[in-house]
């Protein structure tokens, strides 16, 4: 492996990093530059190419990333940037993340891939106990901000117990890391680049159902989208719906149906779950007076609970109805019963009507 050569060269040159300067002002991905219609995994692939191109101390590693990954997100990276920067790890998630923390602590950009979010639990210890607390307990002498962990999450129709989980709630309980979930290809590319360049460790969950299904015009240039800013993707006046990831498309369908019944729905994509944009959601709830949260993870202790509690704290007197949560059932993610478990369009629609008519 050419790893030794790279180290030798680097020491020779001193620790000068060739980095493309980017402004702190981020464009929103529209306008200049060609845009091509691509799907989610291609958008993520583009983001990774750009990340490695603009920082020669960025690494991508994980299980099977070398040939392109089981979802093709890392196609072409090993060929273009070499095996010293894009490499397979053995099957040890705890090791992968811990190793990534070490890389990040020494000033590199470590982009670790966990093959399915269901497999992230062995690494949970490293993420919670090490990554989240590194800067804090070293008094800012060290940090692992260069660490980004990417994992495909969510239902895929036939995944069963261990290929469909949504573990975002576990990570949202950890001060010191950020949790980001994109809803579409254009969002994914911009958000992933922001996550990689953010000076904090980030867990980036990618909705695997959308890898091939979601197709959108995505600009080819390097652009970043701001973290911790929620986006109102549909304006309305009767009820606020809050969601993230693949669930938003289901919620949008429910909104369309509700519109036929004269209910005007406002739909918000949180984008960043930790730290989340309370102001945007609060402003929307002040406008509508009603809120509904939907996510695939089981309802008890899901992130919807945090949103609900915060909104009630801030907007209690404005609320016209209890906060509704339409989420997965409190069971392990089932195999055959997936359609019954999931928070479907009809369940959301019924909850919208119940809330509006409260």
């Amino acid at each position: 492996m050419g790893f030794r050569n790279i180290i030798g060269r680097r020491l020779g040159l001193g620790l000068v990093r060739r980095r493309k300067p980017f402004s702190t002002a981020t464009c929103d991905g529209d306008g200049n530059g060609n845009a091509k219609s691509i799907n989610l995994y291609s958008a993520i692939n583009q983001a990774l190419h750009i990340a490695l191109e603009t920082d020669n101390r960025a690494f991508v590693f994980g299980e099977d990333v070398s040939f392109g990954g089981v979802f093709r997100c890392t196609t072409g990276l090993a060929d273009r940037f070499g095996k010293a920067r894009v490499f397979n790890t053995p099957l040890c998630e705890q090791g992968i993340v811990g190793f990534g923390i070490g890389l990040a602590a020494m000033g590199n950009r470590a982009i670790a891939e966990i093959q399915f979010a269901d497999y992230i639990y062995p690494a949970f210890d490293q993420i919670v106990n090490e990554a989240a607390k590194f800067r804090y307990r070293s008094g800012n002498q060290f940090n692992c901000g260069g660490l980004t962990i990417r994992a495909p999450y969510g239902a895929v129709g036939h995944g069963g117990h261990y290929h469909s989980q949504s573990p975002e709630a576990f990570f949202c309980h950890v001060p010191g890391i950020k949790v980001v979930i994109p809803r579409s290809p254009r969002q994914a590319k911009g958000l992933l680049l922001s996550c990689i360049r953010d000076p904090n460790p980030v867990v980036f969950f990618e909705p695997k159902w959308l890898y091939r299904l979601a197709v959108e015009e995505v600009p080819e240039h390097d652009y970043m989208l701001p973290l911790s800013e929620a986006e109102v993707i549909r304006q309305g006046s009767d009820i606020t719906l809050v969601g993230w990831g693949a669930q938003l498309s289901v919620m949008e369908q429910a909104c369309n149906e509700a519109e036929k019944d004269g209910i005007s729905c406002e739909l918000i994509d949180l984008k960043t779950l930790l730290p989340w944009d309370k102001e945007t959601v609060e402003a929307s709830v002040r406008k509508t007076g009603r809120v509904l949260i939907s996510h695939e993870a089981p309802v008890t202790g899901g992130f919807g609970a945090e949103i609900s509690a915060s909104i009630v704290e801030r907007c209690f007197l404005r609320l016209e109805a209890p906060v509704a949560r339409v989420c997965g059932l409190d069971t392990p993610f089932p195999l055959v019963f997936e359609p019954f478990y999931m928070p479907t369009k009809n369940k959301i629609l019924d909850a919208i009507k119940a809330t509006v008519n409260y």
Binding site: E63, S66, F67, L91, Q94, D118, H163, T331, F340, T344
Partner: protein, 432 residues
């Protein structure tokens, strides 16, 4: 007193049942049994290399070779390794494994089963070689490539096929699917989608049988546990943790590595600092053996030894079986990465062909006998598919069952009825 007995006391803390105090201040706690040490290190392990044993491809470190095997080696004329009955039983099992998996592929592409299905074609020698030596009470822990382990252990083909189709008559009532085959009757402890997760479970099961035998004094409890897993798993922390525990506590377990050289798309040789997995056994104080996993009879000989050791209370063994999967990692894997020369090399060592040849050349069975078995197995597999087709799909209320010990785990709602029986609970308030 001195450090040895202090250490022994600490490690035997939960089991200070034996009223007799340590006989000597230098020896750890000793129970009145020939295989004395219940817990504590195995410092007296004898390591002898046995390169003379041509049963292994490379010389492994074998401890306590049984007399039977030694005797076989000394004979100049090759003696038969199996009797006719055993031969036919083994043949039937490998054919069942192969036919079943091929049928799975057909059913998958016809849409009858779904999800992630991982087939075992090519590795039948390992399953048959090991599991056919077990008793019903012995336990087996497997991975997601578990259909054939289930079949070898005795789970009826009908139950496995139904489980794959997601029907109530499946071995897990349709809840588990392809990767989660369980059977209490046959002591199959799963089916694990997550690599390495089953090994600690197997370690716990082995501990139970040792406990039953030595502490609870259940006379005939010499149950052995087999843990099957792959080459990729051998780089995972759980594997090492369990090797340590099993050797430390001398558990009746055999760790069987099905080294098929590939972990989805990652070659074992590029993922492991020392690709010879069997060497990791002695590092933890147990023997490590490498065997040709494409040959049922060789696997069976090594398995006899390893299982025998465990049954006699001599502790764990690590067996590395060099094997190969003829199909991709799963039915969704296009299998583009593996070299066709490699595939051809292993296809030529197909375990079924080898076994068939052995049986016929040694006049243990005739072509007609074997064809009869082929036909019988075809019928079994077809019957399994029909049975699975006709079985009912689970009702919706089954979704909420078995989350907790209380089968209707959601308790009672305000209207006094079980919550999960209220149709509004499972359906939201509208049709799905």
């Amino acid at each position: 007193m001195n450090s040895a007995s202090c250490a022994a006391k600490i490690s035997t803390q939960p089991f200070s049942l034996n009223p007799t105090s340590p006989t000597s201040h230098d020896n750890p706690l000793v129970f009145p049994k020939p295989t004395s040490l219940f817990l504590g290190s195995t410092r007296k392990l004898r390591l002898s290399s046995s390169s003379k044993l041509n049963l292994h491809r490379r010389s492994g470190t074998v401890v306590a070779v049984s007399d039977v095997v030694k005797q076989k080696k000394s004979k100049s004329t090759p003696s038969l390794l199996i009797t006719k009955e055993e031969g036919l039983e083994l043949y039937e099992d490998v054919i069942l494994g192969r036919a079943f998996e091929d049928m799975c592929a057909q059913m998958y592409y016809r849409g009858k089963m779904f999800g992630f299905v991982h087939l075992y074609n090519g590795q039948e020698a390992v399953s048959t070689g090991f599991i056919k030596l077990l008793k019903q009470q012995d336990s087996v822990v497997s991975t997601y490539r578990d259909h054939v382990h289930a079949l070898s252990k005795g789970v009826p083909a009908r139950a496995v096929m139904s489980e794959l189709f997601g029907k109530t008559t499946g071995c897990c009532r349709g809840q588990g699917g392809s990767m989660h085959m369980f059977s209490r009757e046959h002591n199959l402890l799963g089916g694990f989608a997550f690599i390495g997760e089953g090994i600690p479970v197997a370690t716990g099961a082995a501990f139970t049988s040792k406990y039953k035998r030595e502490i609870l004094k259940e006379a005939d409890c010499d149950h052995v546990t087999l843990a099957f897993f792959g080459d990729g798993t051998c780089n995972n922390g759980q594997f090492f943790e369990c090797l340590n525990m099993a050797a430390l506590w001398k558990l009746p377990i055999v760790f069987v590595v099905e080294n098929n050289l590939w972990a989805i798309g990652m070659s074992h040789l590029r993922a492991t600092s020392d690709p010879q997995i069997y060497k990791k056994g002695p590092a933890f104080g147990m023997p490590g053996i490498h065997v040709d996993g494409m040959d049922v009879l060789k696997v069976r000989e090594v398995a006899k030894e390893a299982i025998g050791r465990a049954r006699r209370g001599e502790g764990p063994t690590l067996v590395e079986c060099e094997t190969y999967r003829f199909r991709g990692h799963s039915l969704a894997d296009p299998d583009e990465l593996r070299d066709s020369a490699e595939k051809a090399y292993y296809a030529a060592r197909d375990p079924i062909t080898a076994l068939k040849k052995y049986l016929i050349e040694n006049s243990l069975a005739s072509e007609a006998d074997l064809k009869a078995i082929d036909k019988k197995i075809d019928e079994v597999v077809e019957d399994a598919v029909e049975f699975a087709d006709e079985s009912p799909v689970p009702s919706r209320s089954q979704l909420l069952e078995n989350v907790f010990a209380d089968p209707k785990g959601f308790g009672i709602g305000p209207d006094g009825r079980y919550r999960c029986e209220d149709p509004k609970f499972t359906e939201g308030t509208a049709h799905v």
